[in-house]
C-alpha cells in the first residue's frame, strides 16, 4: 500500500507555499522589467511542484505516475510553444 507521510512534512510545505505567495505578491510591486513575469511564473512553478511532489504524493509514487504528470505538462508545452512559434514569427522576413 502507499506511504503514510509524517504530517510534519505537510506543515512545512504549507509554510513554504504561504511564504512564496507573499513573496510573489510583494515582488509584483517592484519593477524588474521583463523579469517580472519570469519571477512570478517561476514562483508559481515552484509552488505547483511542491504541491505535486508532497501533497499529491508524487515523490512517493511509481515512475509511471511521474511520467504521466510530466507528459501532461510537456504536451501543454507543445501547444503553447508551437502556437507561439507562429505568432512570434509573423511579420518576420520579407513575406
Amino acid at each position: 500500500m502507499s506511504h503514510v507521510i509524517p504530517r510534519r512534512i505537510y506543515y512545512v510545505i504549507f509554510a513554504v507555499l504561504v511564504v512564496l505567495t507573499l513573496v510573489t505578491t510583494e515582488v509584483a510591486f517592484f519593477d524588474f522589467g521583463l523579469m517580472n513575469p519570469v519571477i512570478a511564473l517561476t514562483i508559481a512553478v515552484v509552488k505547483a511542484t511542491v504541491v505535486v511532489l508532497y501533497f499529491m504524493h508524487m515523490r512517493y509514487s511509481s515512475r509511471l505516475t511521474m511520467v504521466i504528470g510530466a507528459a501532461g505538462i510537456f504536451w501543454l508545452g507543445i501547444l503553447l510553444a508551437l502556437t507561439m512559434s507562429d505568432y512570434l514569427a509573423r511579420g518576420a522576413g520579407t513575406y
Binding site: L64, A71, G72, W75, I78, L79, L82, T83, S85, D86, Y87, L88, A89, R90, G91, A92, G93, Y95
Partner: protein, 537 residues
C-alpha cells in the same frame, strides 16, 4: 473438446433482458452496444455522402441550394468523424479485445466503460438534434469567424454534441492505458504484446492528450457565439486563426486516432493470413508510439494559407514530412512479412491488403500537401478531399471492415460465407478507387472543395466519382446482410477458425463472461507461427 459447437453459456447469453445489456459492465457487451450505435451513425453519414455525390453529378448547383449543400458536407464530416471513425475500432474491437489480449477479466474501470457509451449516445443525440433542427453549415472544422458570428445554423447544439462525445473518447483511452499498464497476465511483458495492443495504447495516448483541447476550443466557440467574448474576434483584438491552432492541435492527432487502430488490425491480419511473424515487431511497435507523439507536432500544415508565419509554416512542413516515416516503416514491415509467407486470401486479408495499398497512396499524397509550395495550389481543392478519403476510407475504414470480418467469428461464434465476403471486399475496393481517384485529378486541375457548383470541364470526372460512390455504397451494404444472416444460419466457427496463434483465439467463441477459465500465463513472443504450442505455458 468438440470445437464446433457453440458454448452453452457465453457473455451474450449469460444474462437476458434489456437491463442486462443497458446496465452491463462487461466490456464485450459494451463493445456490441458501440457496434450497434456506430453502425447506425455510419448509415446516416453515408446518406449525407450520397446526397453530396448526387448534387455533384451536374456542374450547376441544381439539386440543393448552397446553404443546404454546406450543411450536407458538414453533417457528413461530423457524423463520419466523431460518430463513426473516432470511436470505431477502439470502442468496438478495443473494448472487446484489449482485456482478452492482455489476459484480463475486464478493463480496469468497467463502470467507466459503460459511462463512456452513455456519454457517446448523449453527445450523439445532441448532434442528431442539430441535424433534425436544420443542420450545421460551418464544415466539421467549425472555423471562426463564420461559426461564431455569421452562421445562422445550429452551431451551438452541434458543438455541445461533439464536446460531449469527446469525453467518451477520453474515458475509453484512459481505460485502455491503465488496463495495459496494470492488468497484463503473468509473463506478458510489453514486447510480447500483440501489435494491436501497441496500436490501441498509442491511440489512447492521443485520445487522452488531444481531445481536451478540442473540448476547450468548442467551449470557446460557444462562448464567443453566445456572449461575444472576443477571443476570436478582431474587433476586440482577437485572432480567428487562434481557433484553428486550438482546433487542429486535436484534429490532426485525431486522424491518427482514426488510422492507428486500423494499422494495429492490419498487423494482426497480415501475421495470421501469411502465417508468419510480423517482420520487425519492435519497429512496428515503436512506430505506433512515434506516430502518436509526432502527430502532435504537425497541426500547422492545415493552416499554411491561413495567414500563419512562413517560418512557423516551414517548421510544421518539415515535421509533417517526418511523421510520414513511422507510417512508412509499418508499410515496409508488413510487406516484408508477406514476403515468403503462406498467404491465404480470406475476406479479412483482402481488407488488410487493400489497406496497405490505399493507405500508401493516401500517405504519399500527404507529402504533396506537406510541401508548402504545392499546398498553396491544392489546399481546399479536391486533392485534399481525395487524400484524406484514401486514408480514412481506403485506410481506416478498410481496417475496420477487416477487423469486423476477422473477429466476427470470435464475437458471435458464427462464420459468414467467405465467398460473399470477398465479393463485397472487392466491390468496396473498386468502388472506392472509382470514387476517389478522379478527385485527385479534379483537385490538381483546380476544382475547389465545399462548393455545390463547379466548372463545366470537371463534370466527367465528377460523374465517374458519383458512379464509384454508388458501387462503394453497395459494397458497404452487402456485409450488413450476410453478417446479420450468419448470426442465425452461419456455420459454427469454433475457437480458432483462422488458425491464429494470438491469445484471443485460445478462448471459446463466443468467450465466457470472464474471458478465460484460468488466467493465462504467457511464455513466448506475440507471433510464433513455427511452433504454435510452444508459447502457451
Amino acid at each position: 473438446m468438440d470445437s464446433l459447437t457453440l458454448p452453452r453459456t457465453h457473455y451474450a447469453n449469460a444474462e437476458y433482458g434489456l437491463r442486462s445489456w443497458l446496465l452491463t459492465t462487461d466490456h464485450k457487451r459494451i463493445a456490441l452496444l458501440f457496434l450497434g450505435s456506430i453502425s447506425a451513425f455510419f448509415l446516416i453519414g453515408g446518406l449525407f455522402a450520397m446526397l453530396i455525390r448526387l448534387e455533384l453529378l451536374t456542374p450547376p448547383g441544381d439539386m440543393v441550394g448552397a446553404d443546404t449543400y454546406n450543411k450536407l458536407f458538414t453533417m457528413h464530416g461530423i457524423v463520419m468523424i466523431f460518430m463513426f471513425l473516432i470511436p470505431s475500432i477502439p470502442a468496438v474491437f478495443g473494448n472487446f479485445f484489449v482485456p482478452i489480449m492482455v489476459g484480463a477479466k475486464d478493463l480496469a474501470f468497467p463502470r467507466l466503460n459503460l459511462l463512456s457509451w452513455y456519454i457517446f449516445m448523449i453527445g450523439g443525440l445532441f448532434t442528431l438534434a442539430a441535424i433534425a433542427l436544420g443542420g450545421v453549415d460551418t464544415g466539421w472544422t467549425f472555423y471562426t469567424p463564420f461559426s461564431t458570428h455569421a452562421s445562422q445554423s445550429n452551431v451551438m447544439v452541434a458543438a455541445v454534441g461533439v464536446f460531449i462525445m469527446g469525453f467518451s473518447s477520453i474515458l475509453t483511452g484512459l481505460n485502455f492505458i491503465v488496463t495495459i499498464h496494470t492488468m497484463r497476465a503473468p509473463g506478458l511483458t510489453w514486447f510480447r504484446l500483440p501489435l494491436f495492443i501497441w496500436a490501441m495504447y498509442a491511440t489512447s495516448l492521443i485520445n487522452v492528450l488531444g481531445t481536451p483541447v478540442l473540448a476547450i476550443s468548442l467551449v470557446a466557440v460557444a462562448l464567443e457565439r453566445a456572449l461575444h467574448i472576443g477571443i476570436f474576434d478582431p474587433a476586440y483584438g482577437g485572432d480567428p486563426v487562434l481557433f484553428q491552432h486550438l482546433f487542429w492541435f486535436y484534429s490532426h492527432p485525431a486522424v491518427y486516432i482514426m488510422v492507428l487502430p486500423s494499422m494495429g488490425v492490419v498487423s494482426e491480419l497480415v501475421a495470421t493470413f501469411s502465417r508468419k511473424n510480423i517482420f520487425g515487431y519492435t519497429f512496428v511497435a515503436f512506430s505506433s508510439l512515434a506516430i502518436a507523439v509526432f502527430g502532435f507536432l504537425v497541426w500547422g500544415h492545415h493552416m499554411f494559407v491561413a495567414g500563419m508565419s512562413v517560418y512557423g509554416a516551414m517548421i510544421f512542413s518539415i515535421l509533417s514530412f517526418m511523421v510520414a516515416v513511422p507510417s512508412a516503416v509499418k508499410v515496409f514491415n508488413w510487406t516484408a512479412t508477406l514476403y515468403k509467407g503462406s498467404i491465404s486470401y480470406e475476406t479479412p486479408m483482402l481488407y488488410a491488403l487493400g489497406f496497405i495499398g490505399l493507405f500508401a497512396v493516401g500517405g504519399l499524397t500527404g507529402l504533396f500537401l506537406a510541401t508548402l509550395a504545392v499546398d498553396v495550389h491544392v489546399h481546399d481543392t479536391y486533392f485534399v478531399v481525395a487524400h484524406f478519403h484514401y486514408i480514412m476510407v481506403g485506410g481506416a475504414l478498410m481496417g475496420y471492415l477487416g477487423a469486423l470480418h476477422y473477429w466476427w467469428p470470435k464475437m458471435t461464434g458464427r462464420m459468414y460465407p467467405d465467398l460473399i465476403g470477398r465479393i463485397a471486399a472487392v466491390t468496396v475496393f473498386i468502388g472506392f478507387n472509382l470514387t476517389f481517384f478522379p478527385q485527385f485529378v479534379l483537385g490538381y486541375l483546380g476544382m475547389p472543395r465545399r462548393y455545390h457548383a463547379y466548372a463545366e470541364e470537371f463534370q466527367a470526372l465528377n460523374v465517374l466519382s458519383t458512379a464509384g460512390a454508388s458501387i462503394l455504397a453497395v459494397g458497404f451494404l452487402i456485409p450488413a446482410f450476410y453478417l446479420l444472416w450468419s448470426l442465425k444460419y452461419g456455420k459454427v466457427a469454433g475457437a480458432n477458425p483462422w488458425g491464429s496463434v494470438s491469445l484471443e483465439w485460445t478462448t471459446p467463441s463466443p468467450p465466457p463472461t470472464f474471458n478465460f477459465d484460468e488466467t493465462p500465463v504467457i511464455a513466448g513472443p506475440a507471433y510464433d507461427y513455427r511452433e504454435p504450442e510452444a508459447k502457451r505455458a
